[in-house]
Chain length 249, copies 2
């Protein structure tokens, strides 16, 4: 199988990492729209236009599946991508909600969603989780986490101060939805802040979980072919791939 | 006199604030390219193209002067803007270097430049300051300061932790160049961290200082007409204008 992974920038590489661990695909085509990142501050119609352009781009590769690794696109443009694509399209929001459902049997569980302002404002996770029967939902825009990760700060005083800033008035949730592809990089710090009882929902693992259910993978590919495309500044993508995935591209 | 103020986003409003305090202009046209912010991660040629587009936009207003409030544009595209403009164009980098020169008589003074990664990598302030005879220059990309300001965090634990993170190994400079239009919002915290002996160079005040020298302002305008243009998301610009300038637009 051949998959396309779409993200507004570099964050989607954490999803690629999960895909590599699961060895699902023979070939992975990553497209990061680094020229127009961040999507979160754009109008909905602009996001939809960019998402459809990504579908058009992927038509060059005869894909079996497109994974939308970007929370903003998953929240605002998944339907439009599906309408314009000849292959299935899955997104991290749906996958994250389903993974939360698998992790929490009790519908009264407390769920905290964290993400960028755009993702939190979209209420996309809440809509999915409400539809799945959960009611005790809280969401917090944690605007500093992306820049912290991009500064390669994953623990220490800055992270502690940021957690205190955002979380000091919140009760410990049963599940914490990492509603942004950058956040797995600080998942160890988040886990230790909230404690082992809080289940962390990670987009990449959630996608892998969903794929295991919906597709039959007859073969595993330990060394898939991966192609990376960036609409600008490929150097940044190369650096992050080296750091996060440990691969040279 | 009628002035155009160009910025990649909302940060240039701190320069507008200085212009308002000095009551230089009868009319101020602000253009923030909020659809394409941040410029710092773009290629040089892209930045030049956007800057020339801004000059074209300003041609609708018969301006007497264009102020480039964006450090990235000032660093990469000032010359090209001048070549395409029929009115003078001044930028915050040149102005900041001149203001530093006015503040420090001793050429052996230690100067620390802080800014985004793009501004620091451009070495634009260093070039100007070296040409003015200063040699003891240091520069530090402080990537978290813009998101901190955008989260409206101007002091407290997060700021203290960020200062420690970036500055702990640096000696106290004689002058600190605020090489980003967002940074005046944390100038009180910076001043108290470095102490009263460190002179803070603020882009807006630097521009005002340069204008006082280069132009003759025969009249002052306590209530200028101000027009704001944003290429996307005007609501964000409106909110910040309310908060930073205390005006409704």
């Amino acid at each position: 199988m051949k998959v396309g992974v779409f993200d507004s920038g570099i964050g989607g590489l954490t999803v690629v990492k999960s895909l590599l661990e699961h060895q699902f695909f023979e070939e992975i085509i990553y497209f990061g729209d680094t020229a127009r990142v961040p999507y979160g501050i754009k109008d909905k119609n602009t996001i939809i236009r960019y998402a459809i352009e990504a579908v058009e781009f992927f038509k060059n590769f005869e894909l079996d599946l497109i994974i939308v690794a970007c929370n903003t696109v998953s929240a605002y443009a998944l339907q439009e991508m599906r309408e314009n694509s000849s292959c299935p399209v899955v997104g991290v929001v749906e996958a994250g909600a389903l993974a939360t459902c698998n992790a929490l049997t009790c519908k009264d569980s407390n769920i905290l969603i964290i993400g960028t302002k755009a993702t939190v404002n979209s209420k996309a996770y809440e809509k999915e989780l409400l539809a799945l029967g959960y009611k005790n939902l809280d969401a917090k825009a944690t605007g500093l986490f992306v820049p912290l990760v991009e500064e390669e700060i994953y623990d220490g005083e800055m992270i502690d101060a940021a957690f205190k800033h955002y979380f000091k008035d919140l009760k410990t949730p049963d599940a914490l939805v990492l509603g942004c592809t950058h956040f797995p990089l600080i998942s160890d710090a988040l886990q230790s802040y909230f404690g082992e009882k809080t289940k962390l929902i990670h987009s990449g693992n959630a996608i892998a979980e969903q794929l295991e259910k919906e597709f039959v993978f007859t073969k595993r590919y330990p060394s898939p072919e991966i192609k990376f495309f960036a609409s600008e500044n490929p150097e940044a993508l190369r650096n992050i791939a080296r750091k996060w995935l440990g691969i040279e591209i």
